[in-house]
């Protein structure tokens, strides 16, 4: 295969999973919600897009619809789930994701059941090469990524983000300090779900198809690895984590393509390489947890420049006075 296409493909995947890891960072890194059902909202966005795009609606409407439908589901799941303690919340959302996958798997009329359906590319140019096609997708994916990144960055640096982090640190103390924890968490889950929904939509339109097998719980855990390795509470960090994990995941897949030419039994090699991914993830997690338990990048500070300025201003005034 075209080696450049491998790289372009990798860049698209990093973008898509960058969006998902940003959304988990909002929920877990800032609001402290252990969402172990990320894939559920990824799936909802994907199927919403797949079904809507078949009716001929323009792709941007489909993308927005994916975000909205996922957000609604995020809000719905937050109603019962937020009353649960963190560990039970994790189990409940995890189960929710599996239930959804089994529903789309067994309901053949919905979207082809286990066989799935094909999904049209959001933007396709007649007769364009694979490279151009990939470039168009990079543009689309990274535009969405940029929008979400800016939004989360602004939120994290505002009093709203500070309140969220306070809730993460100590829910009860935050509540007696005037923060409505249920509201903050529900909003975090809603926004996070919307983003994951958009990522799901981008994913299936890029892969040309949607099938239940694409939404195994492993996706959730891969995204968790991205966030934990990159550094929860740091948006740049989780993007770095997404890139690292995707390079390992895609890299081992690409390796499989090349390794066939070696004079060794190919089936055995392929089996080893399939496991290599998980071995590499395991090693990555162990290394990071040992040497940088807070993730590769530290949690970002809140508006520290303005605070510093005020602090230094007072210091200077005092020195002058004395």
């Amino acid at each position: 295969m075209d080696p450049l296409l491998y790289v372009l493909d990798l860049i698209v995947f990093i973008g898509i999973f960058g969006i998902v890891s940003l959304s988990l960072n909002l929920e877990f890194g800032f609001a402290g919600l252990a969402n172990f059902g990320k894939v559920a909202f990824f799936l909802i966005g994907a199927y919403t897009y797949a079904l809507l795009s078949q009716t001929g609606i323009p792709f941007y409407f489909c993308l927005i619809a994916s975000a909205l439908v996922s957000a609604v589901f995020g809000l719905l799941i937050s109603l019962p789930a937020l009353r649960l303690r963190a560990d039970y919340l994790a189990i409940a959302i995890l189960a929710f994701g599996e239930i959804l996958r089994l529903i789309v798997k067994s309901e053949d009329w919905l979207a082809g059941g286990d066989w799935g359906v094909t999904v049209a590319r959001a933007i396709s140019i007649e007769g364009a090469s694979h490279r151009v096609d990939a470039l168009i997708n990079i543009g689309l994916v990274y535009f969405c990524l940029l929008v979400f990144f800016v939004v989360i960055q602004l939120l994290a640096n505002s009093p709203y983000g500070r309140a969220m982090r306070a809730i993460r640190e100590d829910e009860l103390a935050a509540e007696v300090m005037g923060k409505d924890r249920t509201k903050f968490k529900a909003q975090a889950l809603m926004m996070g779900s919307a983003m994951a929904g958009v990522a799901g939509a981008l994913y299936v339109q890029y892969l040309h198809c949607v099938l239940p097998g694409m939404f195994m719980p492993m996706i959730t855990f891969t995204v968790w690895i991205m966030v934990l390795v990159g550094g929860p509470g740091n948006n740049w960090g989780v993007l770095l984590g997404a890139a690292l994990v995707q390079i390992i995941e895609r890299g081992t897949n690409i390796l499989k393509d090349y390794i066939r030419f070696l004079p060794v039994d190919p089936t055995l090699l392929e089996r080893i390489l399939s496991d290599l991914q998980y071995i590499a993830f395991g090693i990555l997690i162990i290394i990071v947890l040992l040497w940088r338990p807070q993730g590769l990048l530290k949690e970002s500070k809140i508006r520290s420049k303005v605070q510093r300025l005020a602090y230094d201003g007072r210091r200077a005034a005092k020195n002058k006075g004395s």
Binding site: V151, L154, L155, S158, P159, Y160, G161, R162, A163, R165, A166, E169, D170, L172, A173, A174, E175, V176, M177, G178, K179, D180, R181, Q187, E299, K301, I302, R303, S304, V306, Q307, R308, A310, Y311, R314
Partner: protein
Amino acid sequence: MEDALLKIKEVSKHFGGVYAVNSVSLDINHGGICGLVGPNGSGKTTLFNTVLGLHKPDHGEIYFHNEYISHLPPYKIYERGLVNAFQIPRLFFNLSVMDNMLVAARGQEGDRLLNSLFLRNRWQKQEKGLIEEALDILEFIELEPWAFTPAAELSGGQRKLLEIGRALMARPRLLLLDEPAAGINPVLGKKIFQKLEALSTNGMALFIVEHRLEILFEYATWVYVMDKGKIAIAGQPQAIVDNPDFYAIYLGEE
């Protein structure tokens, strides 16, 4: 005393079969320092938590500014100016000292999702004022040099100070303090009480649980003594000191 700031009417709270607070009625007036003393386990902290909305009372009613508040969630009670500082500090440990202070400010514009994104100018202006206010308080509690360190790195006494400073940041109308002087050096403990007294003459009311009676009785204008979930004695500090029952309750002997 019709227009008392806080009015607790026959409030009871029990856990299982044990009455932690048993039909307590009391009033806190505007301004002034009111003390609450009593042996360990007499129900002082439970009474505080009930007022804060952390526990719903089993019986009785609580009014703040003539408004019935027993049914309100804690964050709404806080927004009305009824603020608490915990006995054991519950700080946001991974946030800086400064951010701990800023979280506590009441009525922040940027606390709402859409405001934080679209009304940036408004809350940024407000934030500047809040930072100055926070620095003033930090200077007073002698934590200014640590403004940008995470709260987790503070010593035990400093954490206690930050807990109190954070509560002051809310500009409370009524401040509940659970043992503010415990674990703080005597000089600073006294300084804090002096500051609290100054605030109380400016209209802030204080309701303080404190075991260091020598400090409390110097500043309090009225003292309630709690025993086994009930208010046993109430009066001015001098009258309490002169009451022989007080020693029986507090020291558990004649």
